[in-house]
């Protein structure tokens, strides 16, 4: 043992000091390493998530070989596909028969399901799916569904799924698997979240569903090059449309989508935007956390620096000792933070990829994140500690040992001391606490800044979450009806209205119409598919969020005016209120005048336009008739359950009268579905707020604990002159609470610009416009609670340790 110790002593003792300091004061080393590690963890987590988020979405989407062009047509046979394969620019072609049925859901009600009947399903190469459960492909009389909607179905994999056929008869298919289909929502319309459940069957199963099994109505095309170039895709798309029509098949609509443009890209982009801003802020937070921690650490070493200088240590030699020590701290913190942040980011993204329907690409370490963490772990601490080290080694040996500065003697007449002196009625110990708080202003500034930044990010994240949530509430104003009915065919409005009004409690019934149209581009080519909704011009069931221009009114009853959503603005930035656009509706091109822009659920909600019922019903040749009805109860503000009960009552009544309903949807549930994507973001923001709170908390505890540890000797002196443990505890707690409280006040103030920055980032990604500023007291008071509790906890631990030491030990403490 002795020889081993002697061998150890053959290292240069200055390096031995490095390891001895690390190991000798384990609590202090733990606090320093955990404070650095938590900062690194935050940086690693956010950068990893930022990189993986984008990479997973693009790689995952490209890997399914998504259709660049989707053509919706009248029924056609296989030979049309052969013709399309020869069109210039086409690489692959695949046909499908996509149609809507109704499926019985968990609650017993019937809901729409889109069925994809795929020929040679085992060889399907475009819009590939990823098997999550059960088997793929399905065989005859079997069905596979998308896993996102699986929980809403009454049976799991292995069960029998009940479908309602167009003839109103029901048939069952064995549910054999659940898959992930990333292309859901890729055709525009309502996007992924508004899409109904998706089912996948073989072409042969169509017989069982009373449908012909040799026809299709959708053509999927991939291109030979530049799959991300929209101009090229449109060019090939036009050629394909022409070729389809030359084959005697009618083209209803065409959808173009780049191979890297996941249907939920907007949500992924919004998450990335928040991560980018958070990453930037967290870098600062970590930097300050590390600076603060190391400054506290080095402050405790000033006396030893003085002794080392006296026994011959030069500045460079002493600086070397501390730089190596800090290097080791950084390395240890990195070795904890790096794997942890990689694992947590992967798990968190796993949750989000499921929520936004992307395919996670397997666990991997992100090189950029590792490099950034290494830089933060090894360089930032050196930079952060350089000034305290320089300061420590620059003060003369006599100052270092005595703690008395000749060049800057203490000034009891300082402004703060004077103000404290003026405050009457304060006890001596309280006065001492207050003076201690302001004694080292440099340290106080660093501690306050770190805590303030952590608090501001936390509060800011809550504000952004609140802003999104209140926006989701506003979306409800597009769905003010209590029950939304969709019929399988058009009925006379008066007839349905009087039938529904037979039910007690119904206040209002509105017949709406809807149509799908294709935007015609100036060069005559077909552009985006647009969904047109047409409430009566005097409807009070829509209260839009207008971005520009105006909404529709009774004066517009017979005119060709429309309002369009934010997606139009994104694609056609030059479009202004008053402009005329051409839309092909029911086979004829129509001039429609845009009078306003409204905002719905973001750029991913597809191309949506509102026109007047009076105009659109004429265009589609269904005047005074409608297939969708909005019903409002006499009772205001029904909740979801009440709306659903009303819906069931109406459905039973109408079906008894022989009307064929396709869907019955509660208003609240429609709002919730529309806002599904935004809800994912609010959950994401809450998780981020929680993480920031954890980072801030550990940082806060580390900083405060180090502050108290630094005062161990002073605590010993106070006890030696008669201060009770309780008095010492009070002294430390008041100081901790005061610092916590000050940081809270500053944090609330700094939260304003940070909230605005984050809100704008997320809103630009979602809506292409800056956000309305929202400030919620939730984050403010939660952070006050966190700061208060942590300040106390962080101060009590070291203070208790200090009071447990004997006075002799404490006075000898360094």
């Amino acid at each position: 043992m002795r020889s081993f110790q002697f061998t150890r002593s053959l290292w240069r003792p200055r390096w031995h000091k490095v390891t001895a300091d690390l190991w000798g004061n384990k609590v202090r080393s733990f606090l320093v390493i955990s404070s650095i590690a938590v900062g690194l963890f935050a940086v690693g987590l956010i950068t990893s998530m930022y990189v993986l988020n984008g990479e997973d979405m693009e790689a995952g989407y490209s890997s399914v070989n998504p259709a660049s062009i989707q053509v919706f047509t009248s029924l056609y046979e296989e030979d049309v596909l052969t013709h399309i394969r020869h069109v210039e620019g086409v690489r692959q072609v695949q046909g499908e028969y996509i149609f809507s049925l109704r499926v019985r859901r968990s609650g017993g009600e019937w809901k729409p399901i889109d069925i994809h009947a795929i020929p040679s399903i085992e060889q399907m190469d475009i819009n590939r799916v990823h098997l999550e459960k059960g088997v793929w492909p399905p065989r005859d009389k079997e069905i596979v569904v998308d896993s996102y909607k699986l929980p809403e179905l009454p049976v799991g994999v292995g069960g029998l799924l009940e479908l309602e056929l167009p003839s109103s008869r029901t048939r069952s298919l064995r549910l054999v698997g659940a898959i992930n289909d990333q292309t859901i929502g890729s055709t525009g319309g309502g996007g992924f979240f508004l899409a109904p459940a998706q089912g996948y069957i073989t072409l042969e199963t169509l017989d069982w569903l009373e449908l012909p099994n040799n026809q299709m109505n959708v053509i999927f095309v991939t291109v030979d090059r530049s799959p991300n170039d929209y101009a090229y895709l449109r060019e090939v798309g036009n050629r394909v449309s022409d070729a389809v029509e030359q084959s005697g098949v009618t083209v209803y609509s065409t959808a173009i989508r780049a191979a890297n443009d996941h249907p939920n890209r907007v949500y992924v982009d919004a998450i990335s935007a928040v991560l980018f801003v958070l990453g930037f802020l967290v870098m600062f937070l970590s930097g300050f956390l590390i600076t603060n921690t190391l400054s506290a650490l080095l402050n405790q070493q000033v006396h030893q620096i003085g002794v080392m200088k006296t026994i011959g240590g030069r500045r460079g030699q002493i600086m070397g000792i501390y730089m190596v020590q800090i290097f080791i701290f950084g390395l240890l913190a990195f070795s904890i933070a790096m794997p942890l942040s990689s694992q947590v980011s992967y798990s968190l993204l796993g949750y989000f990829s499921q929520a936004v329907n992307t395919q996670q690409q397997g666990f991997r370490v992100v090189p950029v994140s590792v490099v950034l963490q290494l830089v933060v772990a090894l360089i930032v601490p050196q930079v952060a500690a350089f000034i305290p080290i320089l300061h420590g080694t620059r003060i003369s040996a006599v100052e270092a040992m005595s703690g008395y500065s000749q060049s800057n003697p203490p000034n009891p007449k300082g402004w703060i001391n004077q103000r404290l002196h003026d405050v009457r009625g304060l006890s001596r110990p309280l006065l001492l606490s207050l003076r201690n708080t302001f004694r080292r202003r440099g340290r106080l500034f660093l501690t306050l800044f770190t805590l303030t930044l952590g608090g501001a990010i936390f509060i800011g994240t809550f504000n952004v979450e609140r802003s999104l949530s209140s926006y989701i509430e506003r979306i409800g104003r597009y769905f003010m009806a209590d029950v939304n009915l969709t019929f399988k065919q058009y009925y006379r409005i008066e007839e349905i209205e009087s039938a529904i009004k037979e039910i007690p409690g119904v206040r209002q019934v509105e017949g709406w119409t809807a149509a799908s149209g294709e935007l015609m581009l100036p060069d005559g080519s077909v552009g985006e598919t647009t969904r047109l909704l047409a409430p009566p011009s005097q409807s009070e069931l829509v209260s839009p969020i207008l971005l520009e221009g105006r909404w529709l009114g009774p004066a517009d009853a017979d005119s060709n005016v429309i309002t369009v959503n934010e997606r139009f603005r994104e694609t056609y930035p030059n479009l202004k209120p008053g402009d005329i656009i051409q839309v092909k509706i029911a086979g004829r091109e129509r001039d429609l005048q845009v009078v306003g822009f409204f905002r719905l659920a973001g750029k991913s909600s597809g191309y949506l336009a509102y026109g007047t019922y009076e105009y659109l019903s004429r265009v589609i040749h269904q005047p005074n008739r409608a297939n969708t009805f909005r019903v409002r109860s006499e009772q205001p503000r029904l909740n979801l359950q009440e709306q659903q009960a009303m819906g069931r009552q109406i459905e039973t009544h109408l079906e008894a009268l022989g009307y064929q309903l396709a869907d019955v949807e509660a208003g609240e549930s429609l709002t919730a579905t529309t806002a599904d994507g935004l809800n994912i973001l609010t959950i994401f923001l809450l998780i981020m707020a929680l993480l920031i709170a954890v980072v801030g908390s550990i940082g806060l505890m580390g900083t405060m604990s180090l502050n108290v540890m630094e005062r161990t000797r002073e605590i010993g002196i106070l006890r030696a002159i008669g201060a009770s443990d309780r008095a010492v505890m009070e002294l430390v707690l008041v100081e901790g609470a005061l610092i916590g409280l000050m940081s809270w006040v500053f944090g609330v103030l700094l939260a304003f610009p940070i909230s605005s920055l984050m809100s704008n980032a997320i809103n630009l990604a979602l809506f292409g416009a800056a956000a309305d500023f929202t400030f919620t007291p939730t984050g403010v008071f939660l952070w006050l609670g966190v700061v208060s509790v942590l300040s106390v906890l962080a101060s009590v631990g070291p203070a208790r340790n200090a009071t447990r030491l004997t006075i002799r030990e404490v006075l000898a403490y360094e």
Binding site: Q5, R314, K413
Partner: protein, 234 residues
């Protein structure tokens, strides 16, 4: 005393400290000369300026006025780093409160000045440190931490550390001030042995007990050298 026999020379040395109440003059013009091999005791009451004198002589602090020369080196002109390098090779410093590195073993505390001075290779410095600890009869505790041993034992380690680079001069600031009389006697005996071995010792103290055992006593009062003893000499 001829100039060639002067190892330490302080000429008209003054030192003022800035305080909120204005400058406080701790030394008001001190002249002292010490020959090689002398065991000089600087004695005075608390506040006489003894520790200030040690700080100036060792170069850890700078005088406000006057000149300090040690073995031909103008200590008052040395910059902080030069002073550290000079101290490492020429001076051993012993403090009243020992000032050992708390996280280092006794052996490492003694090898640390050798490491800073770079005079010995690591293996040789460890051997030498053990020899020095043996000389002060503390080698059996060589691998303990300072907190594991008594104050007297810590001061022995501090003496061993002061001798680490074999400096010709030892400066000690109240080295027996925190020790009981019997331990103080042992420590003082070590200093006497060192003087017999040819070291020059410059020791400040307010302890009248050892007055007769210095080769020369210089009295200090209110920042000035005085011929008047400041307390009863037994």
């Amino acid at each position: 005393m001829p100039d060639s026999d002067v190892l330490i020379s302080l000429h008209d040395v003054t030192k003022a400290y800035k305080t909120p109440a204005g400058d406080f003059w701790a030394l008001k013009g001190v002249d002292i000369e010490v020959a090689p091999g002398e065991f000089v005791g600087i004695l005075g009451k608390s506040g006489a300026g003894k520790t200030t004198l040690v700080n100036l002589l060792t170069g850890v602090d700078h005088c406000t006025g006057g000149e300090i020369e040690v073995d031909g080196v103008a200590v008052h002109r040395l910059k902080e780093n030069q002073a550290a390098k000079w101290r490492a090779r020429n001076l051993g410093v012993i403090f009243q409160s020992f000032q050992l590195m708390p996280s280092l073993s006794l052996l490492d505390n003694v090898t640390l000045p050798m490491d800073f001075a770079g005079l010995y290779r690591p293996i040789r410095s460890a051997e030498r440190a053990l020899e020095l600890l043996r000389a002060v009869e503390i080698d059996e505790h060589a691998f303990k931490l300072p907190s594991d041993i008594s104050g007297g034992q810590q001061q022995r380690v501090a003496i061993a550390r002061a001798l680490a680079n074999d400096p010709p001069i030892i400066v000690a600031d109240e080295p027996t001030g925190r020790l009981d009389s019997s331990t103080a006697e042992t420590i003082f005996a070590i200093f006497e042995t060192l003087v017999q071995q040819g070291k020059t010792i410059f020791m400040v103290s307010h302890d009248p007990g050892f007055v007769r055992r210095y080769s020369r006593v210089i009295w200090l009062a209110d920042g000035l050298v005085t011929d008047e003893p400041q307390f009863d000499v037994k």
